[in-house]
């Protein structure tokens, strides 16, 4: 086992992961990167024709020279409708290759069949996000390598900085031409933005585009540029449309969640943020809050320069009504979003480079005033967790969560307890963000403002908000639910690490130990 050191949030972290040296988290803005960005090998035009099509996936993998031990990157815009990751690894298994490192930007329940390739040794380990059944697999210590969890921005940063070298960028694309120009805006498996594939297309040694909708050259708009692509494969189906985007996003019907969303809108109005750029989440509470914020902006005749999202019908309606000046779209959640991104000039796809990258000269998530986010746990020091549950199981990826905390005011919103499980704890199981990054916690039983943000407190007090403290929320949850058992984890067996946005290690996830029939 690698040597463990204590980092700036007091957590034990390994100094080496999967054979690579690691820097412990030093504090927000404390790590100064040096050196130059990574770069793929230099290609030459005479090696490529205009038509890069090959008949099968296997032909493509052979053409780019995939070998055992290499790393494959893939975007997650197909979400739970993805039909390419599993066939990809079935093919790799049939080719007799092993020990592949898989580095997708996120995984979904549809990826459970990858477990057999982890068991058989085709996949060595997964970096990026581990959720659902794959998270359970990792938590129970079954994965050979250590999981490395990164935010969307952190994935871009790691690839750009050369920490995570992608040998093969694998890009399912809803529409593409023979050269490899590709877009997600239309086609039978349309998904909207393709931004998560940017890092793979720019930095991977080799790039394969797979599509089920070959279009006449040139494919426009070319979100993925053919000049980066080695091979194009046309398959019958890359995804299940109904699982890629929802028909129309529905606002939550839960009275408690609606109440929390109203409190968020109350807070945003009281703090003077109404009419300033915001991050629009697509979770139940965040989505409802967007609707209430729109109502209030309309009533007061206010307009925001832009919103970042997660686009949905509600954001599209705001754009069309003139309540926001632009949508900077990281991923598109419903059909209204897909239609709008394909037609409205001020609804544009963004990438983790433009939105989230911490090792850049700016990013849009930092320039919003408010972001409404969820969490699995937050503690009395305002530290927050989004990856593990209180029983120690790793069940979620970080997504853009860490990256969107950099706006002026980050708001964590959730019901104080879910099915008896309290959210406000003495100490989070896993630290995904230090307390200084969380500004406000909104629950149905009150709003707690981080004492570090006295300025916010001054702005909202005396305006009728249900203000409380994080300690008070903790005590209410404890009284209603009782004290939960501590997680049964084996601290001698790390199974994954959580990276901060700058590539340093903020916490370690350990093997859970609930006996054979947990």
């Amino acid at each position: 086992m690698a040597e463990m050191v204590v980092n700036a949030v007091g957590r034990q972290v390994p100094t080496e992961v999967n054979g690579k040296p690691q820097t412990p988290f030093l504090g927000v803005g404390k790590f100064e990167p040096t050196g130059r960005k990574a770069a793929p090998p230099i290609p030459a035009l005479h090696q490529f024709g205009l038509d890069k099509r090959v008949p099968t996936l296997r032909d493509a993998l052979e053409k780019v020279g995939l070998k055992s031990g290499m790393t494959i990157g893939m975007h997650h815009h197909m979400r739970n409708g993805d039909r390419m990751a599993v066939p990809l690894f079935d093919t790799i298994a049939a080719m007799g290759l092993r020990d592949i490192v898989f580095a997708p930007s996120a995984l979904f329940p549809c990826h459970e069949p990858l477990i057999k390739h982890l068991d058989s040794g085709v996949i060595h380990h997964i970096e990026g996000s581990l959720n659902g059944p794959l998270g359970v697999y990792c938590s129970e210590g079954k994965m050979r390598g250590k999981g490395v969890l990164r935010s969307h921005g952190g994935r871009y940063q790691a690839i750009q900085d050369g920490e995570l070298k992608i040998d093969l960028g694998f890009i399912p694309a809803p529409s593409a031409d023979m050269m490899g120009n590709a877009t997600g805006a239309y086609g039978p498996s349309a998904c909207g933005s393709l931004g998560f594939a940017l890092a793979d297309s720019q930095y991977a040694d080799k790039v394969i585009v797979v599509t089920d909708h070959l279009v006449e050259i040139p494919c426009m708009p070319w979100e993925i540029q053919g000049m980066s692509v080695d091979a194009v494969v046309v398959v019958e189906k890359i995804g299940d449309p109904e699982k890629i985007v929802s028909g129309t996003t529905q606002i939550t019907k839960s009275p408690t969640r609606i109440l929390i969303a109203e409190y968020i809108a109350d807070f945003i109005e009281a703090a003077g943020y109404l009419g300033t750029p915001f991050q629009a989440g697509a979770g139940g509470i965040a989505l409802a809050s967007v609707k209430f914020i729109a109502d209030r902006m309309r009533a007061k005749g206010l307009r925001a320069a832009f919103a970042r999202g997660g686009s949905t019908k509600y954001l599209v309606d705001m754009l069309n009504e003139g309540l926001i000046g632009a949508i900077l779209d990281g991923q598109t959640f419903d059909l209204d979003g897909v239609k709008s991104i394909g037609s409205h000039p001020r609804h544009v796809p963004t990438t983790p480079y433009t939105s989230y990258n911490y090792h850049g000269k700016g990013n849009w998530a930092t320039y919003v005033s408010t972001a409404v986010l969820g969490a699995t746990e937050v503690d009395v020091k305002f530290q927050a967790n989004v990856v593990t549950h209180s029983d120690g199981y790793l069940l979620h990826g970080i997504g853009g969560w860490q990256n969107t905390l950099f706006g002026d005011c980050s708001i964590l919103a959730f019901p104080l307890f879910r099915g008896r499980i309290p959210i406000v704890m003495d100490e989070v199981t896993t630290v995904c963000a230090p307390g200084e990054m969380i500004d406000v916690v909104v629950t149905e039983r009150g709003i707690a403002i981080n004492p570090l943000r006295q300025d916010l407190l001054e702005r909202v007090k005396g305006k009728g908000l249900p203000l409380t403290t994080i300690e008070e929320l903790h005590d209410i949850a404890r009284k209603l639910c009782g004290k939960p058992e501590p997680p049964r984890i084996d601290r001698s067996q790390p199974v994954a690490v959580v990276k901060w946005v700058d590539g340093t290690v903020i916490d370690t996830i350990y093997r859970v130990d609930y006996g054979p029939k947990a």
């Binding site: 009275p255 609606i258 879910r418 008896r420 499980i421 639910c481 009782g482 058992e485 997680p487 609930y514």
Partner: protein, 397 residues
């Protein structure tokens, strides 16, 4: 006679507890829970403690839990135990959540939120939505086979749930069965008892006396108000007598669904069939100096119709409306809110009144117009309502 009994449901925020006779002397406890890893041991301890309090031993207890809080789990254990041992008399009460606050006879009763007495999921957060009253219902929303379990669940809710100052109401079963609901509930703090399908004033005195006896037995002196629900031709015809039957009656409520069935008419959106009855309820209540409260509005999707129906109720003289979903509450409150113009006018009348008093004039006038006493009374009422509703009237000037 069976060797096994269960209570509760394997649903969100609830638990199904199955007890079987003939276990070892020490109770055997099996827990299967959605929160097993975090709360499994606590659930087992709760079962053990509750059975001990009830003096039940030698049973096998199986819990199929989906995140029930302890007051729910305890209610399910007690209900199962009482089904298994019908002579069991003890109670296993959860920890008290908040001190009980008595209410006055006449107060804001614009909205009352009905909560089925058999569903714990809706109870815990009900007070957060700030209705004027929450009704824990033992009558029509509870299946006949679940009356026993609901009574225990509602009793525990009265004890363990913080309703955040919302008036605590219980709708008991139709008399005379409803009298059996009272002994368990009253000691846990009830502000208003709703009595369904009342037809005769004698029924009111019967409940009032029963409540008096129970209160005395438990040394409680807080008033318990009665809200008879009139939902038959006979009940509406006797509205005044019923309202005047006891000085603990605070309001008369109208029940449209049963009423239309009773008069053998169809319930319509326009409600012509219940117009006279609703007016009788208003007249009976006002005649006796209590509040007339309108029926429940049960279409939770149609907010425009709810607003219209509430405005109509207001126009007929009603002061309140029943609802079944939290999102109906702000719509009802808004409909009963005096308009800004009404408040401004009331403020001007008030100022004229003050002026008349200062100058010692017997005549109150606004500009060149003399103001009659009913107008003054109405202005006073508008300002009192505005104050109760927390409206900042000075901001409107």
């Amino acid at each position: 006679m069976s060797d096994q009994a269960f209570a509760g449901r394997e649903e969100k925020s609830d638990a199904k507890v199955t007890l079987t006779k003939g276990g070892p002397a020490k109770n055997e406890i099996v827990v299967r829970s959605s929160v097993q890893r975090l709360y499994g041991p606590q659930i087992a301890r709760c079962v053990e403690r509750t059975l001990q309090t009830l003096k039940v031993s030698g049973v096998k207890a199986e819990v199929d839990d989906k995140g029930s809080l302890e007051w729910v789990l305890m209610a399910r254990i007690e209900a199962a135990a009482k089904r298994l041992f019908p002579d069991l008399a003890g109670e296993a009460l959860p920890e008290r959540a908040a001190p009980f606050a008595p209410t006055v006879r006449l107060r804001l009763r614009r909205s009352r939120l009905y909560l089925p007495g058999s569903n714990p999921d809706l109870m815990q957060n009900a007070g957060l939505f700030k209705p004027d009253g929450v009704i824990l219902d033992l009558e029509d929303s509870v299946a006949p086979s679940e009356k026993d379990t609901a009574r225990i669940l509602v009793r525990n809710a009265l004890c363990a749930v913080d309703f955040f100052g919302t008036e605590r109401m219980v709708r008991i079963n139709q008399l005379p069965a409803g009298l059996q609901d009272l002994p368990a509930l009253v000691p846990q703090g009830v502000n208003v008892v709703l009595i369904p399908k009342v037809e005769e004033p004698a029924q009111i005195t019967q409940v009032a006396e029963a409540l008096q006896q129970i209160s005395t037995r438990h040394g409680r002196h807080d008033p318990i108000w009665l809200m008879p629900i009139l939902e038959s031709a006979r009940g509406c015809w006797n509205a005044y007598e019923i309202a005047a039957a006891s000085d603990t009656v605070c309001a008369l409520a109208f029940g449209a669904e049963d009423f239309t069935r009773d008069i053998q008419a169809e319930r319509t959106l326009e409600g012509h069939e219940s117009f006279v009855a609703r007016s009788l309820v208003v007249l009976g209540a006002r005649g006796a100096g209590v509040q007339p409260i309108d029926t429940v509005f049960s279409d939770v999707e149609n907010m425009d119709a709810l607003r219209a129906s509430t405005k109509e109720a207001l126009a007929l003289g009603f002061e309140g409306k029943g609802c079944i979903h939290p999102r109906q509450i702000p719509v009802i409150h808004d409909a009963f809110r005096p308009s800004d113009d009404e408040i401004r006018y009331a403020l001007r009348v008030q100022a004229a009144m003050d002026e008349a008093q200062r100058s010692g004039s017997g005549v109150i006038s606004l500009g060149t117009k003399m103001i009659d006493p009913p107008v003054v009374a109405r202005a006073k009422r508008t300002l009192r309502l505005a104050e109760e509703m927390g409206i900042d009237v000075q901001a409107l000037v």
